[in-house]
Each structure stands twice: as C-alpha cells, then as structure tokens.
Symmetry: C2
Subunit: 128 residues, 2 copies
Amino acid sequence: MGDRGVRFESIGHVEGAFGDHAVPEEIAATESRIVLAPHLAEGLTGIAAGQRVMVIFYFDRVEGYELLQHPRGDASRPKTGVFAIHTPFRPNPIGVTVVDVLAIEENVLRVRGLDALDGTPVLDLKRV
Amino acid sequence: MGDRGVRFESIGHVEGAFGDHAVPEEIAATESRIVLAPHLAEGLTGIAAGQRVMVIFYFDRVEGYELLQHPRGDASRPKTGVFAIHTPFRPNPIGVTVVDVLAIEENVLRVRGLDALDGTPVLDLKRV
C-alpha cells in the first residue's frame, strides 16, 4: 500500500446531556439527538421512528492506544487485543453503535442507545 | 462545528480473489484475507477461529453519491435515502460487515463473508 491515509468529513454530530465522564451504560439508556448537516437531510428518506440505525462515529476526545488493554479498563481482567474489545483507545478511534430511532424531524434524529458524548462527530448512518 | 475533517490511516487491507466487478453475494460466500500492518498483529490477541468480527473498511474505488438512490441500483424499486440503504455511494464511503473468522496467522485473518474488493483498505476490526 502506498498512502494509507483516508479523510472523511463528519456528516453531523451528537447532541446529548452528557459530558466527558459519563458511564456508557448511562448514556445508552438516555435519549440523544443526531444533528445532520442540513444539506444531507434528504438522505434520511425512508427511515422512520421504531426502526434501528447503525451510527458510525469518531471518538474525537481520545488520544493514543495500546495493542493490549484490560477490557473496560478493569485491571482484574486479563489484557486482550484492542481488536477483540470495544475500547475507544484504538488505532482508528471509530465507534459503531446501533440505536433505536424515536423520531425524525428534518435533519435531526432523536435516538435512544447512543453511547457517544455530546459533540461527537458522526461519520455515517446505515439502517439495519 | 469548525473543521469537520477526520483523518485515519488504514490498519491493513483485504486480499481476495475478486476485482472490480464482482457481485457482493459472490464475494461474501468466499474466503478472503485481512492483512494487518505487522506492527498491529498483537491487537488480534484473544480473537480465535469460529468467532465473528466486525470489519470497518473504506470503499476506496467509489466516487460521488446521491442522497436518494434506488436500492441496489434497481430502477424498479423506489428511490430511498442514502442512510436507509447500504450502497457504497454515500457521503463517507465506509463499509461495515460482520465476518466469520476461519483462522488467524500472525497479522493475517482468514475470513468468510467479507463483501469487499481485493485491495480495500481496512480501518478497524471489532470482535462482536
């Protein structure tokens, strides 16, 4: 491979009640919003409340990673490979979560189950 | 949002028998290999044959998209939003597929079910 760089532009961002130190389970039980760039709103055509959508996002507040990590940072659990766990501290800090769609209003999706912090850049959505 | 750009480096690439014009179902039934950069091999620790892994990859041969598209390019089906379908022609051409792990040999995973062309850059792996 020559140039291994890949560049994306976020399609929108997460708006939620949580800041930097929330527990993922707490975030996931709560409603949040995915605010798309307005010019992309038409791309939501066909998605409706009650459906599920895969959200691909960028862990923008993460720096660095180790190839072997304790799952969930729990030192009582043996270290395992970064690709075997879902830690945000990974070579490319990409998160993937399937959420429940509660409502769609133009370029805004209200969802439940999104374990991403307020302001997180969103890279893609795919109905599942 | 200010700068919406996000940059990644591929962690490896797909090696398979298929070129540019294969049918996804045909690719998916076939074995292929994910060749990681050798320095990342330790990140596979804990992943074993028989498990499933989510592969996040970059559709590097895709250019352009429309917000409304016929599913699978089938003009007999009504156009729907790009985020409601899995077309590679999307604002950020990111693919996500769950594959079966057949074997791991150092930095190479042999897998089945990967609908990605030979040479496709891989961005992340997550055991599911």
